[in-house]
Amino acid sequence: MSLLRVDRLGKKFGGVNAVDDLSFEIRPGAVYSIIGPNGAGKTTLLNMLTGVYQPSAGRIVFGEHDLTGCAPYEYARHGIARTFQNLQVFFNMSALENVMVGRYMQERCGLVSALLRSRRLARAEHACREEAAELMRYVGLQNYLYASADAMPYGALKRLEIARALATRPKLMLLDEPAAGLNPTEALELDDLIGRLTGRGVTVVLVEHNMRLVMGVSDHILVLDYGRKLAEGPALTVRNDPKVIEAYLGSAVSHDGTFGETIADAVAVAVEMHR
Amino acid sequence: MKSTQARNGFKRGMAAVAATFALVTGPALAQEPIKIGSFLSVTGPAAFLGDPEQKTLELYVEKINAGGGVLGRKLQLVAYDSAGDPEKARTFTKRLIEQDKVDVIVGGSTTGETMAVVPLVETAQIPFISLAGAVVIIEPVKKWVFKMPHTDRMACEKIFIDMQSRKFSKVALISGPGGFDKSMRAQCIGVAKKYGMDIVADETYGKGDTDMTAQLTKIKNTAGVQAVLNAGFGQGPAIVTKNYRQIGISVPLYQSHGVASKEFIKLAGAAAEGVRLPAAALLVADDLPANDPQRSVVVNYKNEYESHFKSEVSTFGGHAYDGLMIAVEAIKKAGGTDKAKVRDAIEGIHGFMGTAGVFNMSATDHMGLDLTAFRMLEVKDGNWTLVK
């Protein structure tokens, strides 16, 4: 049984196909990575999987529900959470409140009881605060419990987004380049965090350039190129797929270093694969 | 002009010092001044009303004091700028009554401002002489409220009488967005039947509009229009007059007393030629025959104002003059500033010659002017002339 099914999905921007005729399925409980060079359509895909963009063609089915055409908050209410490549932290709040916003769906209450601050709400708020603090500790932000978001370093903000996404109690969590901009130590900690997420029963979709991270945690990999599926399969199969190696090295050479990170990663992958 | 307030504050401070001295040296020597309160639209869209009004009040309070004051007491003017905003007018009136404890209020450049303070003066029981135009101010009669200018209804009547004499009966109306404009429009429509006038078109323009040819074209295309009446003040009527000539409407154009100043002719330029309007005699002071009983009053005021401020006199300042003088007259008659007595004295004003005409107040008429107070004027060679 699949958790998420994507069927012939497409997205056009002014005549250019950012994502084209893409189909795949995600099974529950796994780490599913999507890789590909810059501009391959990874973030566009993620935006469609969370309702931020409306697809031009195709369908998105989550569990039993066809979510095609739904608004982002409806995706969230069905259990899909995400983080962003360009941070979407609420900088006008404290870190703790950021995570508390994540608890919105469970905590939602009527307007009247919000205005009058009913006893039930006050109690729920207290519990919410506790749980948010717990989640911050879980992602390793125990030192920032009282910080305001605009005073936190970049790496901490990335984890704050993960905590906020976790607070929604998702079934599926989409991480958009969680390692970008992190130093090597922080990136290593991320491996561990992703591992613990699956331990909690959350299915993870990882969009990432950091091949070391991808190869380390993925169960299944989808390789995109120019919005189309280049390869897909278990991590071991994909890493040995000659098409992938060629595309990666080829693109790296042809684009003449524009994707510096990718080149380094690709070489690393290539070396690793031929070992 | 620059700072009556500061000056007042200074005076008040001095008075306090003097009072302290008085306490030390014995019984008070100086008597309390008589306080005239005022709130006027010195700024804002009705500034062309409030500005000459305030200047007039200041000028004449000074003059009266120089002449020994009233009943041996000096006058003190406390004036605020209500900027055409009724809310401000209300607050300042409260301030005049509660804080400054004035004896009588002369002010209220616009009808909105006046009407906003009516409940206050009625409760506080303080005589209030309004300088605004609309007929609602004195109809129904409010015990403590009087007004100086002719009503808009009288203006309509005067114009319609003139139209009758020229054998017109089909009239087009064009009016502006302000309270004055709307009130006059309503009054004119109200009395039109009485004078056998048929309103065949009724157009309006908006605040700050820069062009009225659209409305005027509509009037031009209306069949049978014999005359056009423009109710409005400020910039609008000048534009209407210019556009009127531009699109070549040939029937006569009437304006209201709202533009009764030299400025209108300046703004509208050559297009103003032949425009008629009802106004007080002040505008044609020098044209009045020597035996006209009003002549000396208006000529004196005109010369006084124009030599002092180096700017042309307007009827609006004249209303302030009338208001102040009637207040002073009433205080004299009442023999003091007892508010009820002053009110009764104002109501008893009879045969008082002001710039607007002869005032005959009564319990049922808190304005006291009749149609003879209005003169019909026409613009000729860039100047106001009496229509004979």
Partner: protein
């Protein structure tokens, strides 16, 4: 026909004011609520220069320069010191500036209305059954010249291109060596001058006073939004459209509600084109 001519004249003025809004918006993303005040300053300054006996040929450039200087001063002393503040704070600053300028004008000049003589005579010209004042032709002609000059300026000159680049991407512009602060500074001067031109052109038709800027500023803003903020074509089309809609509804529908009708149309347009007629349709990038 008469309605169309009138609408075009009125619209041309709105367009000039709207262009001023757009230029400052492009440079700073701020709506300059003091824009209408430049219109007033242009008209009033010309009135007082001619009253001093200066001929139009001297008085008009002087008035435009005066307005531009005030625009530059506004940028230097009010906007520049607060450049790190949020956009809404800057907007409130410009509102404060407009009140200040109006107060200043009231003290320097007076509260009365003033007329300017038309540039070339007062005799209406008949065109196809309608009439138009020579001054209206001036309005239309000068607006056309200004629009052409501006498109040349932004399309062909280095400074113009620099200003355009800044509006598209401030950071990138900075990186290629454009002095972004200078661009912001100049944009205030330029749009103040534009406003002044509008004020001078319209003064002989409508007369001028210390508070004419309020309504013209408002209409200019509406025109800029209708056309799409930051778009030059949009400002011109928006201005003309607003002018024509107003006069048409005054002529055919109800003159009392003509402004309301104009705003209803703007609202409807915005509901279907949330960035105006020619505005940039940008989605959020995440």
């Amino acid at each position: 026909m008469q309605y169309l001519l009138t609408g075009l004249t009125v619209g041309a003025i709105y367009a000039l004011v709207a262009l001023g809004f757009s230029i400052i918006f492009n440079a700073s993303h701020v709506i300059n609520f003091a824009q209408g005040e430049f219109v007033m300053i242009g008209g009033m300054a010309t009135v007082s220069f001619t009253a001093m006996g200066l001929p139009y040929l001297l008085a008009i450039p002087l008035a435009i320069v005066a307005a531009a200087l005030i625009g530059l001063a506004l940028e230097k002393f009010a906007v520049e010191p607060a450049r790190n503040a949020s956009v809404i704070t800057l907007i409130i600053i410009t509102i404060g500036a407009s009140i200040f300028l109006r107060g200043l004008a009231m003290v320097i000049w007076d509260k009365r209305f003033h007329a300017l003589k038309p540039f070339t005579g007062d005799t209406p010209i008949a065109i196809a059954g309608a009439t138009i004042l020579p001054q209206s032709l001036w309005v239309l002609g000068v607006t056309l010249v200004i629009v052409l000059t501006l498109s040349w300026f932004f399309g062909r000159t280095l400074l113009g291109k620099a200003m355009l680049a800044t509006s598209h991407n401030r950071l990138a512009a900075q990186l290629v060596g454009i002095n972004v602060r200078m661009v912001l500074f100049l944009s205030f001067g330029l749009s103040a001058a534009l406003g002044a031109v509008a004020g001078i052109l319209i003064a002989p038709i409508t007369t001028t006073s210390y508070d004419v800027g309020v309504m013209l500023g408002l209409k200019g803003f509406a025109a800029a939004i209708l056309g799409g903020l930051g778009s030059g074509v949009g400002a011109v089309v928006g201005g003309l459209a607003l002018g024509i809609v107003e006069t048409m509804s005054a002529g055919y529908l109800s003159s009392a509600y003509k402004d309301a009708i104009a705003f209803v149309i703007i609202l409807v347009v915005l509901f279907f084109m949330p960035s105006g007629l020619f505005g940039k349709r940008g989605g959020d990038r995440v």
